[in-house]
Amino acid sequence: MIESPLARLSDDQLEDLARELDAIHDEVFAELGDRDRRYITSMIEMHRRLAVLGRVLLFAGRYKPAWLAGTATLSLAKILENMEIGHNVMHGQWDWMQDPYIHSSSWDWDSASTPEAWKHSHNYIHHTYTNIRGKDKDLGYKIMRIDPHQKWVPIYLFQPVYNVLLMAFFEWGVAFHDLDLDAIKKREKSVKALKRELKGMARKAGRQIAKDYIAYPLLSGRKGFKSTLAANVTANIIRNTWAHAIIFCGHFPDQTYTFSEEEVAGETRGGFYVRQLLGAANIEGSPLFHVISGNLGYQVEHHLYPDMPSTRYAEIAPQIKEICERYELPYNTGPFLKQWATVQRTILRLALPGGRPRPKPGPFRRGSENGGAAWHPDDAERRRRGATARGPELPLDGVRVTMPEQP
């Protein structure tokens, strides 16, 4: 049994930690402005230009170079649209702009999930109950055993197989997952609500299928139908596989901790922050890598502040590391292939019964192998002085561990 660093911190330390992390959130939100707006609007514009370019190239898709270029462009457009734009806008990261369209309440995305269902299962359930076993339904997505604490059942023998299927059809997996059939069984959700969600999903799915698999292939003419269809299928699979890889690297690498309900009962805000810190893992990469992964390579920062514009994660990462060092907490991170490989190893190993939690990294040290960056001690002092009590979306009374009934 590995002792979680959560148990080591005193109540006072947790309170100090909460104050410091709240202050970072407040500082960033106080200075959001034109620069941030320019980023998201130009990202949205870039997605649309790429989408048009990809579709146009595919009209010449019978010629191999055009097919390859068109498919690659369309894949990139879809990746940006889902990850850096859709996921983040629907998190409310850009709500502060008060823009009627770039807003979590009105945004829709190029994916099978309806925004309503996804926002409930992701923003609320996953981001509130992160890595609490039995509560966070994203922990293995109810179909996989990715934590040795999960009870083994024979179906898990097949998880290496359906994991590969899930990669290819991830958007459909997510849409199905958002329906949360489990909640029906537990009577947390009414059949009426499910019917309504199914209707919404059917409408959404219908449009998605009609667009990529019927309308554009037809528009390409009799000779172009097949090549455009193949390109669109390929682009969706590339986008799905990439999203699957990035998202699985967020919580399932060896470094992350999971929590029992007892461990988090009566959790304070400081406790919430520590759980997010321990339950998430970053991916190291270039700026381009972070853009096409929706800045989810900064999973730790994202889980501390889900409503903070994604571009700011890289900027606050040194401050988070510094806090980790002072409070002797780990800062989970690693190169993409390493993180991805540990996730796949876990999926293979835990398909079989048994298994133990993998060793966890020790406290973060500057210059150590798990990261480190230039940091000015003055910044910490400045923040401590200006600390205020406001923070991100988190109830003051900690996390309730009884699941509410879904609407």
């Binding site: 034109d34 707006r37 649309r48 008060q98 807003h103 829709d108 449009r207 554009y216």
Partner: protein, 343 residues
């Protein structure tokens, strides 16, 4: 089908932001200084623009420090301008967010959102024989549009205009008003510099415009002046001939006017109770429903929801309406009895 979940507009606007038909936009063509603390912003509206009546105001959406704000400004341009441009003339409010941006920072080429044109402070049709305009400070803005309209139509036949401003330099449109007076015998202008001669009071009317009782009067200025003049008309003349511009209709707060009721949100299943002065949006949010919202003043239509049953009261006008299936703006309507909304 080709664009889902986006609209064709989302791609058209890449070519020209004014081509959006989802929302009306405009491009700032020129910004010219009027006085030390006011500018005229000339805007080329998108093709959906339906024109305005002189005296009406327009909500303009501008982005300041990355944040979108809606503000209402009187349109100061002639609706019959040959180039089709419109203009507003904001005066600096030092503590504000938007006017410091418009007066000091905005540059030609900037794209702004345009909300609907609203306002009932307009000239009657047919035009009355004799007109009286009374304005103070930036209250001259809706009247400027009226004067430009009248001048173009050759209708400045018998118009008296009493305007006041603190100093000669502070008179917005000073040169243009004097120019009109020079060119049109039927337009009589009196400008009072309040810094020197004090405010224009109801008692001054007999001296400055002896036949004020016989004129259709249009007032625009600070609330104090409007109240004083209104009382004066009420006592000494026909108040029905007095038209006033009260800027910024008050939304909400007036619980006495309506009945309120229980709101059921069909999509979320939430219910909320609202008194007669609370917008459906606010009541819903307080009850925990996640509702779409935008300007919160009835302009942008982001918050619209289909009314399944019941009736609602428009908090700006007090008008009660409601037919099943009607699209209503939750930010400016309060329930009038139980209502169900598909949101």
């Amino acid at each position: 089908m080709f664009f889902t979940p986006l609209l064709p507009d989302d791609y058209l606007e890449l070519i020209d932001p004014l081509w959006s038909s989802r929302e009306l936009r405009g491009r700032i063509e020129a910004i010219t200084r009027e006085t030390a603390d006011s500018v005229t912003v000339t805007i080329r509206p998108g093709w959906v623009w339906e024109g305005h009546e002189p005296g009406q105001y327009l909500r303009v959406g501008v982005i300041v420090d990355g944040v979108h704000h809606w503000r209402a400004y009187s349109i100061t341009s002639d609706p019959g301008r040959a180039d089709g441009f419109i203009s507003i003339t904001p005066k600096l409010v030092e503590t504000g967010k938007v006017t410091p941006y418009l007066v000091r920072k905005a540059r030609p080429g900037t794209i702004v959102r345009l909300g609907g044109v609203e306002g009932t402070f307009t000239l009657p049709d047919p035009l009355p024989e004799r007109l009286l305009f009374i304005s103070a400070g930036s209250g001259v803005t809706p009247i400027m549009s009226m004067l430009r309209d009248l001048a173009r139509r050759g209708a400045l036949r018998d118009v008296a205009h009493l305007h006041s401003a603190r100093t000669p330099e502070a008179v917005i449109f000073g040169d243009q008003l004097r120019g009109l007076a020079d060119r049109h015998d039927g337009y009589r202008l009196h400008v009072q510099h309040t810094g020197e001669y004090g405010r224009l009071a109801p008692a001054d009317l007999d001296r400055l415009c002896a036949d004020w009782r016989e004129r259709e009067a249009f007032l625009s200025g600070p609330g104090q002046m409007l109240d004083a003049m209104h009382a004066h008309w009420d006592e000494h003349a026909d108040v029905a001939r007095l038209h006033m511009e009260r800027f910024q209709p008050v939304i909400g707060g007036d619980a006495a006017g309506g009945g309120g009721g229980v709101i059921t949100f069909r999509a979320s299943g939430e219910t909320a109770h609202a008194d007669g002065g609370t917008p459906i949006l606010v009541a819903g949010e307080e009850a925990g429903a996640a509702l779409p919202f935008g300007c919160r003043m009835g302009i942008c239509h982001t918050c619209v929801g289909r009314l399944c049953s019941g009736r609602v009261r428009d908090l700006r006008t007090g008008k009660v309406s409601g037919t099943d299936g009607e699209m209503i703006r939750t930010c400016i309507n309060a329930p009038e009895g139980p209502v169900e909304i598909d949101l």
